[in-house]
């Protein structure tokens, strides 16, 4: 297969491999382990208007074939990102995607406004897996109407930047949220965010995360993620970016087989820091073995009776 590139509603990627938000820092942390320019895209850590400290320690825990995190969106704030990080990223070669975090729709819109002006930002990814402070803490992503409202608000201020909405798997009907967000104008969907989980230590009788509850990621969640992506791809017409537990080239292609246009890799970046770079290299030989000569010929071709 010659042409690894994909185009998602105006977001052009040289290959479908994007590093997932929160697992690849601001990108620069990994330049020692590979050439950032070879990646399809980089989603940076969730950005908020003001810098944030996040949750108390401990905030990560290892689980069978996965991990929990409750970082609590520690980040340097959007201004610092734009000033001190973005200029050093190879954004002309690799799509830099800003991941947006806020507690109210207006804040999301304001963030979008700041980033819409930045040439180096290829797209905005809206993290709706976080609590809506005004609505008493229920997650934006758990209610189709609220998810739609955030999408609209961001879309209005995003200018020409494609808006990608990142869905939570912690819902009864993910397709319903996906349809609502599509109707509200989202250009792309990405999923899944982490599964809500918890871990405790019977010896100390304490939770392993100070926040008690955290987000589960890694291979353990891949079956759930794949099911979500499949359901969403059948429910919407806009392009979908799949993620959740991808830790090999085969895993990546599984998401494309069920309908995704591109993938994000998260926890696997912790398996080894050159993981994403290697994944990009492993795709062509695997596609060769599968005799796939274009994405169109493979994407969404799962055979179901």
């Amino acid at each position: 297969m010659r042409e690894l590139g994909v185009d998602l509603a105006g977001l052009a990627l040289k290959n479908p491999v994007i590093t997932a938000s929160g697992t690849f820092g601001y990108g620069l942390e990994f330049s020692r382990y590979g050439d950032l320019k070879t990646l399809g895209g980089i989603c940076v850590k969730g950005l908020s208007l003001a810098p944030r400290q996040g949750n108390p320690m401990p905030r990560v825990a290892e689980t069978p074939c996965g991990m929990l995190n409750a970082i609590g969106l520690q980040n340097c704030g959007v201004e610092t990102f734009v000033r001190d990080k973005l200029p050093f990223l190879p954004w002309r070669d690799t799509a830099v995607i800003a991941n947006l975090y806020a507690c109210e729709a207006e804040e999301f819109a304001e963030l979008a406004g700041v980033l819409a002006a930045e040439e180096g930002v290829a797209a905005l990814e809206v993290n709706i897996s976080c609590p809506n402070v005004k609505a008493g803490g229920i997650l934006f992503g758990q209610d189709p109407a609220m998810a739609a409202r955030v999408t609209e608000a961001v879309k209005k201020r995003a200018g020409v930047k494609p808006v990608m909405v990142k869905l939570s798997p912690n819902v009864t009907d993910i397709a319903a949220v996906a349809r609502a967000v599509e109707a509200a104008g989202a250009d792309i969907l990405s999923l899944v965010n982490t599964l809500s989980g918890m871990s405790v230590d019977v010896f100390s009788r304490r939770p392993r995360l100070a926040n008690v509850i955290g987000g589960l990621s890694g291979p353990a969640i891949k079956p759930v993620a794949l099911r979500c992506v499949w359901q969403v791809c059948r429910a919407v017409g806009i392009p979908v970016i799949g993620m959740g537990g991808i830790s090999s080239a085969e895993d990546a292609l599984e998401f494309i087989l069920v309908g995704a246009h591109a993938v994000q890799v998260g926890t696997a970046n912790f398996l080894r820091p050159d993981f994403a770079f290697r994944l990009v290299e492993e795709l062509p030989p695997l596609l060769e073995r599968l005799r796939v000569s274009s994405w169109e010929e493979f994407r969404g071709t799962l055979k179901v009776e």
Binding site: S129, P219, L271
Partner: protein, 278 residues
Amino acid sequence: MADAGGCREVAVLARGGMGPEGERHGLVRLAVENPGWDTAVAGQFAMLRPVCFGQELTWARPLSLFGVTPERLEFFIQVAGRGTRRLAAMNPGDRLVLWGPLGRGFAVEPDTPTLLLAGGVGLAPFAPYIAAHPRPDNLRLVFGHRPPLAAYPFAEMAATIQAESFHEEKPGDLDRFTALLRERIAGYRDGLVLACGPRPFLSAVADMGRAAGARVQVSLENRMACGVGACLGCVEKDASGELVQTCVRGPVFWAKDLEAFSGHHGTPGKNGGCACGN
């Protein structure tokens, strides 16, 4: 150099108990191929992920550099759980993924009297520290341990510098060890005190160092997922209330630069966490 600092799969060259008694106490010395590291500083560490972790154990495990030669990297492992158990059971030829050298090591001030304080496996970084120090006569080591001394590489280290050990065996010993530490530290006004070991040990050392007017560095063992500053899982609050990554800004810090070791109560963090679990 860029290459040397990358991520590589290497083979185990040798494994053995540390000293005659080590294996029995879960204290193991592991030598692996050196993928080209030449500039490591004592106190820096590597992330090691045996291929046998498969997908079950997600994270690599951080280990201090214990020895570096052009051919081999050496580590000193204490079995503490699932990951170190598998690491300590590796055989020559078994493969692991390794990246580093990571983080910042201990200060070297050749002409300053320097006190090395180690608790248990916290002894590890001091072996290369002593080996590389231009003025070993300026160094002194105090080592506290629970398994027998013969399970540690103490004798080798004591051969080149002034060193003493303290065996914690029964309740009450801890108080006597603390008293010993206080006495030793008291002699290092304006000197350098470097400590590596369990967190309560580091806290006590930092307090005593401050009281004695010594400059203190501590090496933290916060839980780490990535080792490269990306996951924000290993953070520690600095003296200004900022959360900084232990893996890149540490693991060795000046005690005065960290809220928990500076003796000051920090301001509550601005803009706390999010319940979403990211």
